[in-house]
């Protein structure tokens, strides 16, 4: 199966983005774009602005200046995160942000909420449309559960799941929204080798089978070099490199800033 990268405008494009908190410059003049079906990795030391970038794309932060484009069209300067999500952008969080009181299944079902119809009375009375909607979306959620190989924990409250499983459920919740662009914030952090392999397989499958564009922040260099088409390197809020993995590996600025120094993780 051949994967075609590109074709059409970038799924997400950030242009000259600045972001500051108080006096602190979190991002300075950052421009980055991701093409359809591309796998873009973002690396950099802690505090380099990787998560800030995600928060800007997903609408949690508003940049001080700069433009964000979605499939070629400029996004309004202020967009609520839920409006961004409805553009087909889903994400996971660095520190798992699951709905801890709910089961794995309900978490994943919640991922589909934005695709569902809201009608208070209809849901209260379980009118045919409400019942049908629950069942149809349950089926889709179950496909994700099957895909992520977590049927045995379907009914477990996620708070009781081990860390690796929680990461999987969180990915499931993001996938449930059927996103075009998936932002993964350190999907492999804290996992053992086997869990990482599984996660890599899932992530690659999502990208290759469904054509989902990926941006991932990850510290595990092996994973990054293996699975990404392109690597953007951040340091002190600036992008210092943006190239295919092999080129990045040879880039002197990157080596100085990041790869060369011992990075504890």
């Amino acid at each position: 199966m051949k994967r075609e990268i590109g074709g059409g405008p970038p799924v997400a494009e950030l242009e000259n983005i600045h972001l500051s908190f108080g006096g602190l410059q979190a991002l300075q003049d950052v421009s980055v774009a991701v093409k359809p079906r591309e796998r873009l990795a973002i690396i950099g030391p802690n505090g380099a602005g990787k998560s800030s970038l995600f928060n800007i794309i997903s609408g949690i932060y508003t940049p001080s200046s700069g433009t964000i484009r979605h499939k070629g069209g400029a996004r309004p300067a202020r967009m609520k995160p839920y409006e961004v999500a409805r553009l087909g952008i889903a994400r996971t969080f660095q520190n798992i942000a699951l709905f801890s009181g709910m089961t794995a299944l309900d978490n994943i079902m919640t991922g589909r909420n934005s695709l569902m119809r809201r009608g208070v009375l209809g849901e209260a009375l379980q009118l045919p449309w409400a019942r049908r909607q629950e069942i149809e979306h349950r089926r889709r959620a179950e496909e994700i559960i099957d895909f992520l190989e977590i049927p045995s924990v379907r009914r477990t409250p996620v708070g009781e799941l081990p860390y690796g499983m929680q990461k999987r459920v969180e990915l499931g919740r993001a996938l449930a929204a059927e996103p075009e662009l998936l932002l993964l914030d350190e999907p492999m952090a804290g996992m053992n080798l086997e869990e990482k392999e599984d996660m890599c397989r899932f992530v690659l499958d999502v990208n290759e089978i469904h054509g989902t564009t990926l941006i991932l922040v990850e510290h595990d260099m092996g994973v990054v070099m293996d699975i990404s088409d392109r690597v953007a390197v951040f340091d002190y809020g600036r992008k210092i490199a943006d190239a295919p993995p092999d080129d990045v590996r040879r880039d002197q600025a990157v080596i100085d800033a990041y790869l060369g120094t011992a990075h504890e993780h």
Partner: protein, 296 residues
């Protein structure tokens, strides 16, 4: 001219009575700063302290002894609350802790009245309660004394926080739990200490309020107004508690006097809350509070 004098009279009266709200709010702020707990029971602690004091007084003890005994009871209470309640709720969300303090409020209210009865106790500490003319403006002597007490208390607390080890630990713990631990005082002790200080503040507030209104159940309801005071002033700020109290006291009086007649009076009951709500909408962290930033 009379209009202006009248306005000033109302304003000053409000400000002075506002200092009493400040007194209760002070207790809230102390506990919130040290433990992150919004202590709904602070108002009840005021009632409880006053009831205990009056009760001991009525048993024939001299005022000073009664104060010491009451203070001891408040320390024991602080100890019990830490040991029996909050130590077991370390990882609970703040809202759950808050609800626990509502339970505590009920418990104390019931306990105080079971032990000391419900009838209104008169408390006379010999504070003169006559009007005092400052030029053309009539001011309550009682309120002046109360304001002085508040000022004294704030000053004393300031000294306590600056000069004693425990005081420094308390300040430290508000900023950073780790830092407090590094001073070498266990967190549990800090909690007990801060609840004790809050108990002391409650006692002072109880005495002042009790001698003004009589020691009775409604004190705890009036003391609830310390909540909007805190919201307006900011949760983490002692100056905020003072200023908030002044604002609430003044604004509710002014509202009552100038708006009350048009709507049938009784504005005082809800005006501070509405004011607090408005403040929340505009500036959720309050006037002196630190900006709340949520990290993702």
């Amino acid at each position: 001219m009379d209009e202006l004098y009248f306005f000033l009279e109302v304003l000053i009266g409000g400000l002075l009575s506002g200092t009493m709200y400040s007194l209760v709010a002070l207790g809230f702020v102390l506990i919130y700063k040290a433990s992150g707990i919004f202590n709904f029971a602070q108002g009840t602690m005021v009632l409880f302290a006053a009831l205990t004091f009056v009760g001991v007084l009525e048993l024939g003890a001299p005022a000073l002894l009664a104060a010491v005994i009451t203070l001891a009871v408040m320390v024991v209470l602080a100890f019990a609350v830490e040991r029996l309640v909050f130590r077991h709720m370390v990882n609970q969300p703040q809202v759950i802790l808050f609800m626990a303090t509502i339970g505590l409020a009920y418990f104390l209210e019931g306990l105080g009245q079971t032990v000391w009865g419900t009838e209104v106790h008169v408390l006379d500490l010999g504070i003169p309660d006559r009007g005092l003319w400052l030029g053309p403006i009539l001011v309550s002597q009682f309120d002046l004394v109360a304001a002085a007490v508040v000022a004294g208390l704030v000053g004393a607390l300031g000294v306590f926080f600056r000069t004693t080890t425990m005081g420094r630990a308390l300040r430290g713990v508000a900023d950073d739990h780790q830092a407090a631990l590094s001073i070498g005082i266990p967190l549990h002790h800090v909690w007990v200490a801060v609840w004790s200080v809050a108990g002391f503040v409650a006692l002072v507030a109880g005495l002042v309020w009790g001698s003004k209104l009589g020691v009775q159940f409604s004190i705890s309801l009036v003391a609830l107004k310390a909540i909007p005071v805190m919201i307006i002033g900011g949760f983490t700020s002692i100056p905020g508690a003072i200023v908030g109290g002044l604002i609430v006291g003044a604004s509710e009086k002014l509202a009552e006097v100038y708006l009350g007649p048009f709507v049938g009076g009784g504005l005082e009951n809800w005006f501070p809350y509405m004011l607090a709500m408005l403040v929340l909408m505009v500036r959720p962290e309050g006037i002196f509070g630190e900006k709340i930033i949520e990290r993702v």
